[in-house]
Symmetry: C2
Subunit: 224 residues, 2 copies
């Protein structure tokens, strides 16, 4: 496919790109022809994953530590574990200044009854990012898309909408276009950043659905 | 259509049945052949709505004040405004004892930027109901279905899944069956009651979607 104009020539960094969600997203972006920089705490592990994804997709994928990846990306996707999310972003506010930062982190806890939403002082992971990155444009997206499906090269098309939340129209449009580089996915505007909490937390419901129905569930918005 | 065995001979009461969501649900249940009792603060307004829906659907619909409706229902749907939700349920704990209570209330605020989720001390409207009704089985459902589509007799089929949340399998199964009496709707298990907050709050996102796309949006769960 041809990339939309807004994405042409832009590099996407994926912080936490060696974890399941980040790696799955990096794979799909690379396969779509977007230059990708994998970020990780360990530059070595990032490079290993990058080499693997470059070979698998034929795309342009490099690895670096999270700070160097953040500096290299025109758009930066944050797919790190919730534990450590705030600390990492605080340390990268300089590298991320002036950029669109796409937060896809779900603050969830797990016990024997399954997953549940953790309380977040700022309201949501995305709002925490916004508070820590005053010079970036923070967008919430990719919360509910199955990492298993994203990272499986045998899955040709991922049957889900990606809800994109934020307060700057140009940035939500850009991230909707980024989502649509993944075959099967539609990017749908999902509201302002203050309404991101429930989209993050909804991942707990999809985990319950997955257990009950033995599925890799996603969601579609109807009448849109 | 033939009602499933679990619903045969059971009366559904809809508290707040003169409001848009309650009235829309009552219309669909009556059209499906379920005996419905509309509850309202005013028995007279309830009876007016009941007569109108009975004439429109050919179904068995009566009206009463909320307490008499709660006493008359085998299943009781709570579709009252969030403001007053707790006070009403507290006053009806006797009438609702031993019954399945289906809470579909969304605690939302509105300002010039649109809708947003209100904080709820118990976590969600459904959990508030559970706390106030220790002798009832509380289920969360019907949060995201468009009142406009439900209450429009020209709409043959409503294109949405209804997420059903609760901790008692027999009750979630029953409410999934109730949801599926509405043409087009599928009842999908959506997790335990503790994960209801985000489903209630997600209605704020659908309101944002409706504004952006001029739609009456709903949601479908994929791979299920």
């Amino acid at each position: 496919m041809t990339l939309p104009d807004t994405l042409a020539g832009r590099t996407v960094a994926v912080l936490g790109g060696t974890g399941p969600q980040g790696r799955g997203l990096a794979r799909r972006f690379a396969a779509a022809g977007i230059p990708v920089v994998i970020g990780s705490r360990s530059a070595e592990r990032a490079t290993d994953t990058a080499n693997e994804l470059a070979a698998a997709t034929g795309g342009e994928v490099t690895g670096a530590d999270n700070a160097a990846a953040a500096a290299a990306g025109d758009l930066v996707v944050v797919a790190v574990p919730w534990d450590g999310h705030g600390e990492l972003l605080k340390s990268l506010s300089g590298e991320l200044a002036g950029k669109v930062v796409v937060d896809c982190v779900n603050p969830l806890g797990f016990d024997k009854q399954g997953a549940y939403a953790l309380p977040v002082e700022e309201g949501s992971a995305a709002q925490q990012a916004e508070a820590l990155l005053p010079d970036s444009t923070v967008i919430g997206a990719f919360h509910n898309v199955s990492a298993v499906l994203l990272d499986d090269p045998a899955v040709d098309s991922v049957d889900t909408d990606v809800l994109v939340l934020g307060d700057v129209r140009e940035a939500t449009d850009l991230v909707q276009a980024l989502a649509e580089t993944i075959p099967g996915v539609r990017g749908v505007y999902g509201g302002r950043l203050r309404n991101t909490h429930q989209v993050e937390a909804f991942t707990a419901n999809l985990i319950s659905v997955n257990r009950r129905y033995k599925a890799h569930s996603g969601l579609r918005i109807t009448d849109v």
